[in-house]
Symmetry: C2
């Protein structure tokens, strides 16, 4: 028998296979196939990317040369372009706008084959610091309403480059999925006068059924109404609506917990493709929103989304979070 | 430069690559890989499926034996189960329900390798008639609020069986994506006192930029704010909110237009994987809703959905509908 679960924030229902859950080895692990060619993100190939916007590099090294640890560059094939004024208009009954926005790539490491879990704590801290720094800078541009940070790892997760990188997109409107989450959280806040994410944390800490690990500032857990098997959320324990306002004391703890979940997933699934997305509040909320709470949603790519999911927004999840968490906890990391 | 377009019904924005659109041969066409084994949907293997619920078959042939043209059976691995009462309850701050629902498979043809476009008009009419018949029957069950009909074709579209089949799921709640579309259509109706889909048809017929073909009762076109490249909608020209109320005069025209779009796609892309979903009104609308208009959304699987789309619900579409329609129209069918 399966169980239907409702996501408390968005109201989305998922179908959870509770009686006969799929175990890790039963998922098909697609081996990644990459196009051959020179990697523009590799050390020494700095001239193959657009000019760097920011980098952490050794003193006395010039931009766009070796000597860097983390590099932010414009996306060579941007989904949106930075130049111009926003021009929103109608076309009969339709609406359109020119494609204004920013699309940057943070090259996480000079090493082609080192993913986050293979880097040192300090190296991952640098990546997080760069994501915050670029967000703070893009936030100054009044044309932008939302900054989305996400990572595609592995071709089946939509990555076109093998070299580890994270992407930042600044958008001239708040995306629909984000709005939905914000509205759900606001409605809960209006009713209870509490942040729904803070309540989720309390419930998870109380139940202890879905927590992977925690540290001084962060918690990682498999959410109750996961949309994907082995979905993991990383959330700050203290209320904060905005990722880019992460402080220097917190960054090392985020680095450690992020490395930890990836290391665990790699033990359970060899090297799964994955996406993660940082959910944060829109830029116009002026710093802090009482009802919203930033978090990172991590989704290993183990299943294919089919017609049913596209049509309904109803997801079928073959492994419930309570089962996933057992596999994730029992592996030894380090 | 790209263009941002807003879907008039749901308000979803898409990023359309208008300046440098991707042409058909530039999409990677993944060759389908199927697991070997006996096909339970093939002629003569009727004993390998759950007992048939309905079939169109030669007179004097017994259920669950050869002699059929179309067969409806329960899904052997159903996402939801038909037995029991709906039991919705809370768990701390979370909501859950037992997994009540129906999950049926309509085996479209006895032939393992014939997809819709390879069948005769009469054979496709039988499939459509069976989908209506099963919907009407499931609609009598008061526990169900929505009936979703969808097809996954090809492994990359999520199909686990190669033999052509369509699925029907009856759900105890109206799915989120459907609700969203209904709400958008209702808001438009409240404001304009017109069906938004009827207005879309009018605008498309007026512009002539995105129409593939039409016949007495149906229109096929690439929607203005397509989420996927080469997305196609098939819509009845006359207002009708409910797929299962399709009449016998209309069915042959739907069969012809459905075969036509698949034949065109196969000429443009060899044999692409695809999903289609029938969007229809919920069961509680008691027959006809003024604001809603059933239609079929057809999505060839040419791209992979990545982190950005998951995070935002903002889709990047490499081929605008005006360009897609040119490729679809210039191929010769038959």
């Amino acid at each position: 028998m399966s169980e239907l679960r409702r996501d408390p924030i968005t109201g989305r229902w998922v179908i959870m296979e509770t009686d006969n859950p799929t175990r890790p080895h039963e998922y098909e692990n697609e081996p990644p196939v990459w196009r051959p060619g020179t990697c523009p993100f590799c050390y020494g190939n700095e001239n193959l990317t657009p000019p760097e916007i920011a980098a952490y590099r050794d003193p006395n090294t010039a931009p766009n040369t070796p000597g860097w640890r983390v590099r932010a560059v414009s996306n060579k094939f941007p989904a949106l372009h930075i130049e111009g004024d926003l021009d929103r208009r109608g076309l009969g009954m339709y609406d359109l706008s020119n494609g204004i926005g920013a699309h940057e790539v943070v090259v996480e490491t000079p090493y082609h084959n080192k993913d986050l879990s293979d880097l040192t704590d300090a190296e991952v801290e640098d990546i997080i610091r760069m994501l915050c720094q670029r967000s703070l800078d893009l936030a100054k541009d009044k044309r932008f309403k939302y900054i989305m940070i996400f990572k595609n790892f592995g071709p089946s997760a939509g990555a076109s480059m093998e070299h580890p990188h994270t992407q930042i997109i600044a958008l001239p409107m708040v995306p629909k999925n984000v709005k939905e989450e914000l509205t759900g959280a606001e409605e809960y806040f209006d009713y209870r006068e509490r942040c729904i994410f803070c309540d989720v944390i309390r419930q998870e800490v109380y139940e202890k059924e879905r927590i992977i690990t925690d540290n001084k500032y962060f918690l990682s857990f498999c959410p109750y109404a996961s949309r994907f098997p082995f979905e993991i959320w990383v959330i700050p324990k203290k209320h904060n609506s905005c990722f880019m306002h992460l402080n220097n004391e917190e960054i090392p703890f985020l680095a450690v917990i992020l490395k930890d979940i990836i290391a665990r997933l790699k033990k359970v699934f060899d090297t799964p493709a994955y996406n993660f997305i940082i959910h944060t509040s829109p830029l116009d909320s002026n710093g802090q929103a009482e009802s919203y709470h930033w978090h990172l949603e991590f989704m290993p790519k183990l299943t294919r989304v089919a017609g049913f999911e596209w049509g309904t927004g109803f997801y079928v999840v073959p492994t419930p979070p309570e089962v996933a968490v057992k596999f994730l906890k029992e592996v030894k990391t380090e």
